[in-house]
């Protein structure tokens, strides 16, 4: 018997108020007509209009999107491979080093990751731009993907794969036809995680971006250093809306998938009888 007391209710209310009020205030004030951000002067969508006419912001958004799509896709492929290696490959030379390199970027301060990658790019003479940001983002997000995917692979029933191999599948076919569909939800959430990490990253992008490529976080950072601006409030609202829509859709989809899978499993159990 769980007793949900008034204390629990209060702490949940206050806790969620703390988590959400700052963002709600931000969203409300993005519709403020006044240039002075903290003084309410009536409802207006003026700042959204200004934002959409601001070439610099649009360019930065386009660069950010390209980087995020490219880096999260490569990271998902490499991260899934790495997860497979970690869970399935058994012993091989340098395994400890390999798992160390998977986990280390997760705890490495961003300033160090950024600095080290920048020094590498300078040493090999690679011009900084979109490509270098993609390489940098892929490197840290593949580690996150591999952690997400390997947690799913660990609980995966291996006999399914062995059955496919016995029935004449090649290892790659067994992976594509049996393993991948089952771990797909983890792979997709790995991709989403990599995508948001890339969208969000300021520090590593600042080190690895050259003057030719500015990402949205870099642009936001340089303008909020000068103080709060209504345009940034509008931009934040758009980004929050996109993320909220994405997360809610993803959770609805995964709920439906879970329901369907449960139904299929019930069918499968009933079928042989």
């Amino acid at each position: 018997m769980k007793r949900f007391s008034w204390f629990n209710a209060t702490s949940l209310t206050l806790g969620f108020a703390f988590l959400y009020l700052p963002m709600i205030i931000l969203i409300v004030y993005s519709f403020n007509a006044s240039k002075l951000v903290t003084v309410w002067a009536g409802f207006s969508t003026r700042w959204y209009g200004e934002l959409l006419r601001d070439e610099a912001f649009l360019d930065a958004a386009w660069v950010t999107l390209q980087v995020a799509v490219a880096s999260s896709t490569i990271a998902t492929v490499l991260g899934t491979m790495a997860a497979h290696v970690m869970v399935r490959a058994g012993r091989f030379w340098g395994r400890t080093l390999f798992s160390g390199m998977i986990y280390a970027p997760l705890v490495m301060p961003e300033v160090i990751t950024g600095l080290s990658l920048l020094l590498l790019f300078i040493n090999i003479g690679l011009d900084r731009g979109i490509l270098t940001i993609i390489l940098a983002h892929t490197t840290f997000s593949m580690c996150y993907v591999s952690v997400v995917v390997s947690s799913r692979l660990v609980s995966f029933d291996r006999s399914l794969e062995e059955a496919a191999l016995d029935l004449g599948c090649s290892p790659f076919e067994a992976f594509r036809l049996v393993t991948l569909p089952i771990i797909l939800p983890a792979v997709i959430s790995g991709w989403l995680l990599a995508f948001t990490l890339s969208l969000d990253d300021l520090v590593i992008a600042s080190f690895t971006a050259g003057p030719s490529a500015t990402t949205l976080p870099i642009k936001i950072f340089s303008s909020i250093r000068l103080g709060v601006s209504p345009e940034i409030n509008a931009l934040s609202t758009i980004l929050i809306a996109i993320v909220a829509a994405g997360v809610i859709t993803a959770s609805l989809v995964s709920k439906r998938a879970a329901v369907r899978q449960a139904a299929e499993e019930r069918e499968a159990v009933r079928a042989p009888a």
Partner: protein, 296 residues
């Protein structure tokens, strides 16, 4: 052969883009500052053959690390980073534990929704979440307007650009990392243990301290490390919410690199920061290991 390719691809990627860059940082930390491009010396000169390699190694030294100990700025920045991270972690625990506790006691059908509400801010841009506090905490910000409107204060409080704002920023952005592991341990807890404690004469409050808290210990430890470790090297929060008094090593490294363009010192700062981080990371992994063993 296929197995080799599977291992080799991610392995090679990580070697090239994680390990080698890190070795370059180490190497530059041992080099000297120079007015050239790149702004350090020595550089590898393979045209001189073996002699070039020997000269290269002979020119490396620990001068930058000695410099870090002689200049007050650096060791103060390391200490103050650890201190700010520790205070923020403690505050995050105070704020996060009651939330995790409330979630674990909520009706089971509510829990997935509550969990999603905790995770949702984590998916929202970190930069925007930090930014949202600038408008709240500034001199003419919403908090001061609110408090002055209520008549609680006469003059605006100065919070933005102080360490208090940094604490608030760290607690706010890292709170999900504190809540989730604590919630995970609390949710698994067997409630009959509490009933047993009460049957044996414990008050509800002492049952909480004697049963609930010890049983959630691994969650508390995990949550604390998950906040403490990234907070030490934090850059965005001190540079947006902190002021001139806020000394954090992430910010020092950034300024050393971008403003002073002293790459060797920036690299040495990074190396020492990593050495400092090794201790909490090892302790954290030991805690995780213990938890896994306990779960069998």
């Amino acid at each position: 052969m296929r197995r080799f390719a599977l291992i080799a691809m991610p392995y090679a990627w990580l070697l090239a883009l994680f390990l080698i860059p890190f070795l370059i940082v180490l190497k530059i930390a041992l080099s000297d500052y120079a007015l050239s491009i790149p702004p350090y010396t020595p550089t590898f000169d393979l045209s001189q053959g073996w002699q070039g390699v020997r000269d290269f190694f002979a020119a490396l030294d620990f001068e930058n690390f000695v410099f870090l100990t002689t200049d007050d700025l650096y060791w103060k920045a390391y200490l103050s980073s650890v201190w700010i991270a520790a205070v923020s972690t403690f505050l995050a625990l105070l704020v996060g534990y009651p939330i995790a506790y409330g979630m674990a006691r909520a009706a089971p059908e509510w829990r997935p929704t509550l969990l999603m509400l905790v995770i949702l801010p984590f998916w929202t841009s970190f930069l925007i979440r930090v930014y949202s506090w600038i408008g709240i905490l500034s001199g003419e910000g919403y908090l001061n307007q609110f408090l002055m409107g209520l008549g609680l204060i006469d003059a605006p409080l100065t919070i933005l650009n102080t360490n208090i704002a940094v604490y608030i920023g760290i607690v706010y952005t890292y709170l999900p990392f504190m809540i989730l592991p604590i919630y995970a341990t609390l949710e698994k807890m067997d409630d009959s243990l509490l009933e047993a404690a009460e049957d044996l004469g414990c008050s509800r409050i002492s049952a909480f301290w004697l049963v609930t808290v010890p049983l959630s210990k691994t969650g508390i430890i995990a949550g604390c490390f998950l906040v403490f470790i990234p907070a030490i090297g934090e850059f965005v929060i001190p540079s947006l919410l902190g002021g001139s008094e806020t000394l954090m090593i992430g910010k020092v490294l950034w300024e050393e690199f971008f403003n002073n363009r002293d790459w060797p010192v920036a690299s040495a700062v990074a190396t020492v920061l990593l050495l400092i981080l090794v201790i909490p990371i090892v302790l954290f992994q030991r805690n995780e290991q213990k938890q896994r063993e306990a779960e069998g």
